[in-house]
Every structure is written in C-alpha cells, then in structure tokens.
Amino acid sequence: MKKSLSLLLLIFGFVYVYAQDNNLNNLFADSSAQNNMPVIATFKSGILINAQTIETMHKHDLLFEVGHRFGDIGGKYGGSKTFYGFDLISDVLIGFEYGISDRLTVGLGRDKGAANFANVNQTQLLYGTLKYRLLQQTINNQVPLAITLFGRGIVSTMASQITNTDADFKNFKSRLSGVGQIIIARKFSSNFSLELLPTYVRREDVVGPDPKNMFAMGIGGRIKVTKRMAIVADYFLPFRSSQVTNYFSTQFNTLFYNPLAVGLEIETGGHVFHIDFTNATSILENQFIPGTTSNWSKGQFRWGFNFSRTFTIGGSKNKHWKK
C-alpha cells in the first residue's frame, strides 16, 4: 500500500515537472499591459472641416493653421467668370495652437468673418480657444468613448455699423460671441471614427428676433482610405424657431440651410491638409451655425482648405531621452 502510494507520488512528480511550461513564448501570453492604454489618432488633427475634433495638441507642440473658404462654385456668383469661386474669398483664418499639457490646448487667431447680410454681419474677428481632453477611449473598451470640451471666445474688431444689425455695437460687450462644445467621439476601427458635437452658441448682439442663445447638434466622421488619406465629413443641425425663420425669409428674403461639408484629408509627417467642399461660407461656429444661407443644391457650395503644420518646440516629455 505504502509502495503504491509512493509510486503514485512519483508519477505525480513527473507530471508536475513536465507540466511546467518551458515554452518561452507562452510565458507572456496573458500580458495585458497594453489594453488599458488610450486609443490614439481617432482623428488626425484638431479640426475635421467645420467641426472641431477631440484631438488636442501634444504637450509643448505648436500648431500653425490656415483656413480658407472660396466663393460659390455654381449659382449666381459662381461659374467660369469667377473661376468657380476662386476670385471671391468668403472667409480666411490664420491661427496658432499650443499644447500646455497633453490634455489642455490653448489657441489664438484672426478670422476675416463672412457676412451673409441678414443675421450675420460681423467681420474682423479675433478669437481665443481652450480645449480640454476630459476622457480618453481605451484599447480594452473599459472607456468606450472619448470626450473633449471646447470653448471659443470671439470679438469683432470692426467699426460699428450705423444700421440696425448685429454689428451696431453699443458697447464692447456687444462685440462678443462665444461657442461651447462637448465633443464625444469613438474610434470604431483603425479606419473609422465618428463624433457628436452638442454645441452652444452665444451672441451678444443679434438682429431682430434672432436668439442670443442657440443650440445645435453636430456630427462628424472620418474614413481612412489609405495610410495617409482619409475622407472626412461633418454636418450641423442648428435649432431655431419658425418665428426666426419666417422673420428672415420675409424681411431679408433669406433662407437658412444646415452646414454640410465633405473633404479629403492628406497627412504627411507634421502637415495635415484638407481639401473640402461645404455650403458654409464662414469658418467660425458663431457664424456658420446661425448664419449659413447657401444651399448645396443651388451650386452655392465652395471649395476650401485647412492646412496645419505642427512644430515640436518644447523640451522632452520623455525622461529617458537625455540619457
């Protein structure tokens, strides 16, 4: 009995020894160190076309950006006589963004402003932005969404108009506008990202019954077609009352349309280049959300571009680097 027990133990001993996995490959098979890492490159730049994205600058990186919208391609002001809108610049933007940390980006810029001569008449716009990355999506989907908060303050520096418009500034405060956005995004696969942008626009000086406080919902997406090229699109649905719509259609013979944009995004190293088509004439949210009066189906869309270049100017964030 004792003998057989010993034998059993002996056999068990052998099994124990050979059950020890000496195949080195399998030692780290369960390593999941990567899974809680944040998802990167949901979008390739801080702006889609008209919409912002969840992306912020990396710490100490400086971005120089230029935005451009030409005139209508078709319709009354388009066609060959204006070289399909080339001669009629509707809006131009030049700006800088800087990453204070990997989460917080500040920006400063100048925008021409595009008046629609109905409810938007301000030009010569100076703006400052704040963008904060609140939540990052993780690879293991423990956090399935990314959330970034965006705010923009705008001041019109133009001379006050005498007529009764949103540019008949009574005091400094009436020159101000602001935009707040909660940007919610998800990278569904390496080739497809989608975002929603609940948006609030505040304008201190408005025309007639045009609301000072306005809400809109934006949606944007990116489909990567090659390693360096992607199709991007965004759309905004502004919420305005029929009273406002009627007022502007009777008083100004002007109808509002929802801004839609589609474009091609090309990335080479530190450059991101967008060529896009949109019916929105202006680049900043305080203008294109309440005041897009051009209609895609009438040929009143334009080509435009956004161009940005990133410079790494700060010190190293990597403590191992200087070794």
């Binding site: 004792k2 003998k3 010993s6 133990l9 002996l10 001993g13 052998f14 124990y16 020894v17 020890q20 996995d21 000496n22 080195l24 490959n25 030692l27 780290f28 390593s31 160190a33 990567q34 890492m37 990167i40 490159a41 990396h58 710490k59 990186d61 990997d102 690879i139 390496s190 390693k227 360096r228 990335e267 080479t268 190293g269 530190g270 990133t310 790494t312 190293s316 964030k317 990597n318 191992h320 680097w321």
Partner: protein
Amino acid sequence: MKKCLMGMLFLLYAFPALTQIYICRNAEVTFFSSAPIEDIKGESSTALSALNVDSKEVYFKVPIRSFNFHSSLMQEHFNEDYLESDKFPYAEFKGKIIDNIDLTKPGTYMVTVEGNLTIHNVTKTYATKGSVEVKPDSITTHAVFNIKPEDHGVKIPTLLTKNLAENLQVTVDATYHPRPVASK
C-alpha cells in the same frame, strides 16, 4: 526501499529548479536612426523577455506602444502610420544562443544569438553578437544590431528618406532573475 523512494521524489521535485527559466519584465529596447535632417530615437523600458538556461533559448516580446520618442507626434505617427500597432501590437524575437557555453556557471561570455524577429507581422532571421553576464542570482544580457524598416514591410515615404536612416541601430539590455518555481 522507502528511503530510496523518498530520495528519488526529492530529486524529482528539485528538478524544476535545475531547468530554471530566467525572466525579465523591464528589458530596455531602443532604436536609433541618424539621418541628414534629424536623429530619431525610440525607447522602451517595459519589454518582456525570458531565457532558458538549459536550452539557451531566448524570447523577447516588445509592446510597440511602449516606445517613447522625443516628439509625441512622432510617436503617434510611429504607431499609426508605420508600425500599425493596433493591428500588430508586439514585436517578437524567438532565438537561441548558439555558443557552447554553460549559463549556470557565473562569468561573462561573448555569444552569438540566432533567431527570428517579427516586426509589423514580417519575420526575418537575424544573427547577432552579444554579451551575457551570469551572476549567482541574475543574468544580464546586452546586444546591438541593425534592422532595416523595409525588411519588415515598413515603407518610408520618399519625402521622408532624409529624416530616417536606412539602417536603424537596435540596442537591447535585459537583466533576468529566476522565475519563481511556484508560478507557472
């Protein structure tokens, strides 16, 4: 008879300690590129490695996302555009020290390691010189070798050929400790 059996059993249970596997969870892997426009360095200090002292097999598993760069934007491009770390999250090396040495005896040895390196899902065979220092309770290894991105299906755009060298110098440093017998 009983004594003899017990003795055999004791030997058997002692056996795993002899086929000791050494493990390193913080191996340092760096690669360096020197090109006319810029020098680029990527650095990981969380690579996983194992060394079988008996069979002299070596294994490395390097998370691509663990490489740090001077520029975060460069790090993003490295992951997103070049190594595609969401599809191929690890670089792996399975190899063997081919020299006739005894890794259980303390000392410093110059060795040759041969094996397969998989980066970006493309496997290539490498042979490189390295050094191994065996101490009573740890083993330290060091190796330097060159790789070409194009050998592993990583295409560098013509526009950036002046930013990145054709050959990247890879340095690997690891300090191993015996795997605790209790853990599988």
